[in-house]
């Protein structure tokens, strides 16, 4: 159906005690695509993200990233091959400055080896400079430059989202999992984020899988939509198809959440 998928989920299940959070879920994500993952609350979307990004291990099923089996691998291993994620509530390091937050995410840091400061000072200093330059550039892109030396703890919620996004960019990822990037963010900032997401795919060909409740936004930018409900994948397809899909509408109406119908019901 699609050329070699960059992410492939097959028969993945996860339960917590008595609760089945993810139930035999399977789907593929095409490289360079923007895919929306939607579904009512409690559908298992964030759990799915946790499974993909290595924070959870599936009980059944396999996950492949770019042909490499990755289920059960620790998060840092996935991040180092280019699969990174954001968190629903942005997890910035509040006790470090914005610039330090960015530099933390730099790839290939020889300085993180034990003792590197002692026996490789020049090599280390050079790489630090490179990373610092890259960080400053990206801060420009996400327009947080003037806050570079402020502690991340002083940032507003929306700014933290941007910072987390910028941190992701530092890792030069091949695929990004975005967990509700627009939740609780002012409209102007949300638009900015959307622009960044689209630009990322356009310029670098980064694959994006995004969980969102903002139906307008996710329908507008996604090439494909995957719908989950109560742990299972109940539909996948083009945005237009999903909006007409009866099962999907039922799933949403059943929980009194906003159904993914087109612009007619958009609220201010």
């Amino acid at each position: 159906m699609m050329a070699e998928p960059i992410l492939s989920i097959a028969g993945v299940s996860k339960r917590f005690g008595g609760v089945v959070a993810v139930n035999e879920a399977s789907f593929d994500v095409a490289p360079g695509s923007i895919t929306g993952l939607i579904g009512p609350n409690g559908a298992g979307k964030t759990t799915m993200f946790n499974l993909i990004s290595g924070f959870l291990r599936p009980e059944r099923g396999v996950i492949h990233f770019d042909g490499w089996r990755c289920d059960g691998r620790p998060p840092h291993a996935l991040a180092s091959v280019g699969l990174v994620r954001t968190f629903q509530i942005p997890r910035v390091l509040t006790r470090m400055t914005v610039l330090e937050n960015m530099m933390l995410a730099g790839m290939d840091q020889p300085g993180e080896q034990l003792g590197a400061a002692l026996y490789q000072p020049r090599h280390l200093a050079r790489r630090e400079r490179e990373i610092r330059d890259q960080a400053r550039e990206l801060l420009e892109v996400i327009r947080l430059s003037r806050l570079a030396n402020d502690y991340a703890g002083t940032l507003s919620g929306g700014q933290r989202k941007l910072l987390e996004f910028g941190r992701i960019l530092m890792t030069e990822p091949r695929m990004i999992l975005l967990d509700e990037p627009m939740a609780g963010v002012a409209p102007a900032l949300a638009l900015q984020l959307l622009d960044h997401i689209i630009a990322l795919r356009a310029i670098r060909g980064t694959t994006i899988l995004v969980i969102e409740h903002d139906m307008e936004a996710v329908m507008a930018i996604s090439d494909r939509i995957i719908v989950m409900d109560e742990g299972s994948v109940i539909a996948e397809g083009l945005p237009e198809e999903i909006q007409r899909n009866e099962r999907v509408i039922e799933a949403y109406l059943g929980t009194h959440a906003q159904a993914p119908v087109p612009a007619a019901t958009a609220e201010p």
Binding site: S53, G54, F55, P74, P75, H76, A79, S80, V84, R85, F87, R91, V92, L93, T94, R95, M96, E100, M103, L104, A105, M107, Q109, G111, E112, Q113, L114, G115, A116, A117, L118, L124, E128, Y151, G153, R167, M170, T171
Partner: protein, 327 residues
Amino acid sequence: MEIFNLPFWIFVAVIAGIYTIFALGLYLQYALAGLPNFGHVAFAALAAYTMAILIIHLNVPMPVAAIAGLLVAVLFSLVLGIPSLRLRADYLAIATVAGGEIVRYLALNMQGLTGGPIGSIGMLGPSQLAQYNQSWDALLRPIVAALERNPVLAPAASRDFAMLLIVWVTALILLVVFWLMVRSPWGRMMRAIREDEDAAAAVGKNVFRAKLQVLILGALLGGLAGLFLAWQIGIITPDDYQPTFTFYAYLILILGGTTRIWAIPVGALLFGLLYSGTRFLNFYPLSLFDSGDRAYLRLILVGLLLILLMAIRPQGLLGNRRELLLR
């Protein structure tokens, strides 16, 4: 004893230096990586006892015994630490304090091996006075002799002064080394892990390996401090390794400030001053207490300081409030 008694203050300085190394080990584990090790004293105890046991029971040469001591401390840190690394902070605190206590308890009760309550001098049984310090003393003698020949330093020349030089040179080298490392990306990675491991893992940091690194480093430094203390005093007993020892190190970290590595020697010297200086405060109402009670007063002071610093100035005297670990 009058206050300007040089040999006394040299002794205090030696102990402060040893505490600097000890607290540095704790700094790496707790202040840098966020692992609240309440049983740090175990590393000192294991290194010292291993060295003494090997020298006294098996006639192992001192350098080998010392290294073996450090290795045993590291081994213990791994055995206890690895399973505990993923635990919540208070569980880790409990597990580590239990670990420290069990080491002390074994030292107290395995009489044949450790000499029991009377410590190292009893290791060869009641009829002999076991010693482990001869080689170290032999090492110090040429240094003392060199000091005596030096016209400037001659008045202070003593075994304790030689110890002071060795301990503080070591401490300063270690402080520089770790200062460089803390400022480097390695230190940044640790600070990130301390605050939010998942965020650090999400950007590619191997959290487990990093924690293992500080655990081992902490064990090495704690063990080294234990060795120095053993060499300084010449005798070791289980009483030297009470949990209070670990909490002195916490107090030192908090006194100086948990956010700066150079605050450690300041904290250690302050602590030494406070602790030993109380014996000179002979005015009313302190003069009402006899010398035995003064010891308890000192511990009361330690307890009060722990509480007050936590309450009023948790970042310590030199710390940076925004990077505060202990809120």
